[in-house]
């Protein structure tokens, strides 16, 4: 396996970062992004991107479930009976999601309330089941871990960008976990205070999330020719 030292990696795990493996990490960020290219997991991307804070927690939850699911399924790949493999995947994903839900309820009750059903819906997030079925079942835990991180990150960055755009234009603020919502526009700017500015309420509604995702797809395709289908 070729070694590459330009990435910050511990030497003992270098082989994990061969060219092929780096592709596993990098591809889902752009060329095969789960949201903008495969158009999976759109539902949660539209629903919980009103605030950056929620998007961060959601991304972390998906990252956890994705890594856990991919690694566990990959470890079990030679033991899982073919006939019940989908059920096994579901059980693994569902238990991880329940753990995430319980932990959020215990440590981040307010955010857990805002995310409401969408944490539970991670179970049905096609990105996760798709990766388990398409990758983890046929690969070793190492590459599966990278694949999981890559895909979760591909999901996460879209969520973060969309939520930042929506929160800035929709609420004139930005929120990070633990910091609450920081309104950075002076309140005297707002029309209600005699100023000239008004938040765009449309940004808070789900359709604008779809449009924002659409804009990201547009930008992505205009600079990545590989994504454009022939004819």
């Amino acid at each position: 396996m070729s070694t590459d030292t330009n990435i910050a990696v511990e030497t003992k795990r270098e082989s994990l970062f061969s060219k092929k493996n780096r592709k596993l990490l990098k591809d889902p960020l752009d060329d095969s992004n789960p949201i903008t290219v495969q158009v999976l997991g759109i539902c949660s991307a539209l629903a919980i991107t009103v605030q950056l804070q929620q998007a961060v927690i959601m991304s972390l939850s998906v990252l956890f479930v994705m890594i856990g699911g991919n690694v566990i399924i990959s470890l079990l790949r030679n033991m899982v009976p073919d006939r019940i493999r989908i059920i096994v995947q579901l059980v693994v994903v569902a238990s991880l999601v329940i753990i995430v839900d319980q932990v959020l309820k215990a440590f981040q009750p307010d955010i857990s309330e805002k995310l409401s059903v969408f944490v539970g819906l991670i179970i049905t997030n096609c990105i996760i089941m798709g990766r388990l079925e398409a990758f983890a079942l046929g690969n070793k835990p190492g590459p599966s871990l990278l694949d999981a991180i890559g895909n979760a990150m591909g999901y996460a960055w879209i969520l973060l960008v969309v939520s930042i755009v929506r929160e800035i234009f929709g609420s004139g603020a930005i929120s990070l976990p633990g910091m609450g919502q920081v309104k950075f526009l002076p309140s005297s700017w707002f029309i209600s205070e005699g100023g000239f500015y008004e938040n765009n309420n449309l940004m808070i509604l789900p359709p604008m999330a779809l449009i924002t995702v659409g804009l990201i797809i547009w930008i992505q395709r205009s600079r990545n020719a590989a994504l454009i289908e022939e004819n």
Binding site: V91, S95, Q102, P109
Partner: protein, 257 residues
């Protein structure tokens, strides 16, 4: 010896082992996180009760403010008689504390028949009421549970010292439709209740009317597009108030004597 991975025996064995392992792991998680979750739920309940008497609170000061404003926690039975009273610090483990009466669970196990406004099968339940003191005034906070379109809805209604005028209300829901039924938790809806009064005679003490209707002292306008949720609020209010008003009437009579 090679094992036939696709044999029925292996498949069953795998499934059984998997279920046991997963079940144990989830049970362990749930048990170990339960105390924290219960504390969070108790804080939330305190915040909701304080919200009904228009006291703003955060998770970190809910306990203090609750101790400051809520003078006593009373449990009553379905006939309106007082069962127990607690004052002082709330203990989330003390089953006799009216604060810990799980009205959601009680509602689930004693669901009233359709149209049964007097909740005739609630005889063996107890109901909590929170007597609050704010700026020299007494308020009674009544918690309630009902059904919306998709799942449970619940709320806290604060009555003024006359036990008839609504001082504040707070509603919440589990899974109502965002933008429609879910709007019951928004302030534009709950503010409509403020200053309205409960009718003296039942079974309809208060109405949540269908969109755009003229409202009087005993009714508010419901939510457009959230008719079933609005009806749920209406039903919840009338059914619950039917029981609490018995207690309040008893209390008024006691006071007059």
């Amino acid at each position: 010896m090679a094992i036939n991975k696709n044999g029925t025996g292996y498949t069953f064995g795998f499934a059984i082992v998997m279920v046991v392992v997963v079940g144990t792991a989830l049970a362990a998680t749930s048990i170990s996180l339960k105390p924290l979750q219960q504390a969070n739920a108790a804080d939330k309940k305190m915040m909701d009760i304080l919200g009904a008497i228009k006291v703003d609170s955060q998770r970190d000061n809910a306990k203090e403010l609750f101790a400051e404003y809520v003078a006593s926690r009373v449990a009553i039975d379905a006939s309106g008689a007082q069962v127990s009273v607690k004052q002082g610090e709330v203990s989330t483990t003390d089953a006799t504390d009216p604060f810990n009466i799980d009205i959601k669970k009680d509602y689930r196990s004693h669901k009233p028949a359709k149209g049964d406004l007097s909740w005739t099968n609630a005889d063996d339940l107890t109901f909590p009421v929170f007597e609050c003191q704010k700026e020299g005034q007494t308020y009674y906070v009544v918690p309630m549970v009902g059904s919306g379109l998709w799942g449970p809805i619940w709320g806290y209604v604060a009555l003024e010292g006359d036990m008839q005028t609504i001082y504040g209300a707070k509603f919440d829901h589990k899974t109502e439709t965002p933008g429609l039924g879910a709007e019951i938790k928004e302030s534009f809806f709950t503010e409509k209740f403020e200053g309205k009064t409960l009718a003296e005679m039942g079974p309809t003490y208060f109405s949540v009317l269908k969109g755009g209707a003229l409202t009087d002292l005993h009714s508010v306008d419901g939510i457009t597009g959230g008719t079933i949720t609005s009806k749920g609020v209406d039903e919840m209010l009338n059914r619950t108030m039917g029981i609490y008003l018995k207690y309040f009437n008893n209390a008024t009579q006691r006071a007059q004597r």
